[in-house]
Subunit: 458 residues, 2 copies
Amino acid sequence: MDTIEALRAIVGASGVMDSAEIATRSAGVLRPDTLKARALVRPKNTEEVSKVVRWCHDNGLGIVTQGGLTGLVHGADASAEEVILSMERMRAIEEIDPVQRIAVVQAGVVLQTLQEAVEQHELSFPLDLGARGTATLGGNAATNAGGNRVIRYGMMRDMILGLEVVLADGTVVSSMNRLIKNNAGYDLKQVFVGSEGTLGIITRLVLRLREKPRSQDVAIVAVPTFEALTKLLKHMDSALGGSLSAFEVMWQSFYRLVTSPPARGKPPVSQDHPYYVLVECLGANARLDSERFVAALESAMEARLVSDAAVAQSDSDRRAFWALRDDVVQVVVGGMPVVFDISLPLAAMEQYVATLRMDLNDGIGEHKLWIFGHLGDGNLHVIVQVQPQQYTTLRPKIEAIVYGPLGHLGGSISAEHGIGLEKKSYLSVCRSGSEIALMRALKAALDPHGILNPGKIF
Amino acid sequence: MDTIEALRAIVGASGVMDSAEIATRSAGVLRPDTLKARALVRPKNTEEVSKVVRWCHDNGLGIVTQGGLTGLVHGADASAEEVILSMERMRAIEEIDPVQRIAVVQAGVVLQTLQEAVEQHELSFPLDLGARGTATLGGNAATNAGGNRVIRYGMMRDMILGLEVVLADGTVVSSMNRLIKNNAGYDLKQVFVGSEGTLGIITRLVLRLREKPRSQDVAIVAVPTFEALTKLLKHMDSALGGSLSAFEVMWQSFYRLVTSPPARGKPPVSQDHPYYVLVECLGANARLDSERFVAALESAMEARLVSDAAVAQSDSDRRAFWALRDDVVQVVVGGMPVVFDISLPLAAMEQYVATLRMDLNDGIGEHKLWIFGHLGDGNLHVIVQVQPQQYTTLRPKIEAIVYGPLGHLGGSISAEHGIGLEKKSYLSVCRSGSEIALMRALKAALDPHGILNPGKIF
């Protein structure tokens, strides 16, 4: 039986696309190319996933699981010989339990769909990122997604209580724990979260929900020096007692980009400062938490950690301030840039950026450099734009300049986007030989024939 | 060369105890017996651990790693043929970085030692549990310790950024990540945290620190019904906006035990209510946070979720309130009880306890039953005391009554203590055959000869 026929026998005729149909689909966000694969199969439930995987296993075919295709590291690319397993029909929110404060979902549920569904129960699913309208919860889990509020709520890993996974031979392991505390044997879910689909296929999840915040205070503040930035982070974190929910730093060039035409944003404070921070507090008591928020900013100004500040006075202000930080699309005006997602210790960051500027000036000539990121997590997005006709030739040089110093500084080449194919050749910059050997040992134990997301990570 | 000689060649003469010396040491907290082993070896650093492990590996000897011996599930028991690897000489706090907010420690550092060291930097290491003065950070990591403030800060797993581990063949894998966000390949530390020493030996850790809280509000409240308890949890969590740090429930019999002679505690509210909760808020602003805390309790009283409340007015009140919750030692007056550490969904808890009472009355006759626990995490400590002369015969029956319903209810036989040897025969109550098979596959991949903490968990 050929692949298409065999898969149709499992999931029904409409559940399988052949290579011609597949080629009509985009390869994903910011991608000019289209998908390719031997077949694209769309199971409706775990049992169908298991049967598809077993068939591929028995026939030696590689399987690439796809969610919303919003990843940025070619982590879900398939070759023409592989089978794409798409989660697009597994979109059921099976349960929301407001007492236990959990949601049970299939892996194909879109992040924003869950966010909106739990809000109706006065609850919050606090993972949040730009791709919320397309990214799936299974993809968020497989890549351990980060986003805007990691400083308060952690990464996707921290929001997963249980999961169900299909192993490389089709075995279903249901580990749908609903408890915050469960030390009964190994915490198996940890092995699969962040493994980019290479160790198993996540089919269902139990997610932890939080009470919906009752107040939101947001400010854009200007900061005079990098040292003041790190002190301000400590100051706000301490002064807000557990409710600091974002500390998003914008270097001057990025702030100017998103507050000048053609961007639609207006600068809440002047464009002449070296650093800007969007500070957010998600709280419980609008009056008392706002008073505390403003008092914390005032004492920061007295301590000269903040040069100027604009505090949002309305929902429209709050939206406008966040819109600045989120207007990342401005960086593609003038041609596709090279986008990085790195992290490094705060103590090394100022010197790293200074060296980066010099090395880029020396190494690639004329370019634009924008930096912003989740400073509370040590995570910077570094964006370098060169002339479009130079993109291909300069890209490896830019990568070497950005990644080169990170190993020495204890940084990471991927804070939140993962490795995929794109960063694979740089993995050894920040992971040792013994670490990579151990990763390979885990891969060999769980997927001895290498059929799950072949070639990714290492 | 015999074992003692070979190990002395690695760590020096004073670093090794023979079986006679070993037999003079207690087997641990609440244990009447003494240690036994072929040898007890005390390496000073990772290199020595690696050499010891390699020697044991090459000579086919089992290795049991020991920290503070405060575990309650026989998770660090050694046989007369095995080698004990004690972390007692690996007690260096290597670094405290107040900007990055991390500590780097050797695995043998005692929890309280680190807590006190970071306080000098106006920081907090928020893991906290009764054994803080003896338990080691390596042991906390190997067992994924929980404790009193999981609702706010998570378990030990959530506080570990990086670790160094010695594998079964002596290979050192250094994964000393210092970053909150690092998605560069598999998050290897997750495999070892909570694995009870069966997959590798944790030698060093990078731990995440928090800003030291500036305010602490504590109350003991009486609650009329179980339904009100679950509503109060949601209410306080929501009303305190991220700063609820403990929600410790005491059933009436436990409250009476710790507020009546011979216990030294006095009841802050009368002893006639069915449930009591110690509620704590660790905040930032003494005035505003206290105002918010009291307002939250007042609205809970208006909503009849709380029948009576005593709010701590001083440090001595706060200590006295916590001392009630912590006075667990009262349960050993009258003979050693059987102590359980279970978790289950909130919606099932009331019925579970009612059934438990009936089954104990029907099944074992006269006994005492005390229940308290971290309700915010679904974690209950159930303590059953029978006549000392009946302990041995009734214990299996009591275990069957307590554990029996948990599988059906989605509960766990171990919320925070682990499995060790003690709960091994009950593991299948709450973990499926496919889960246990996957645990075994991980064990086989990392410790094919089964020399690390032999026989524990499964």
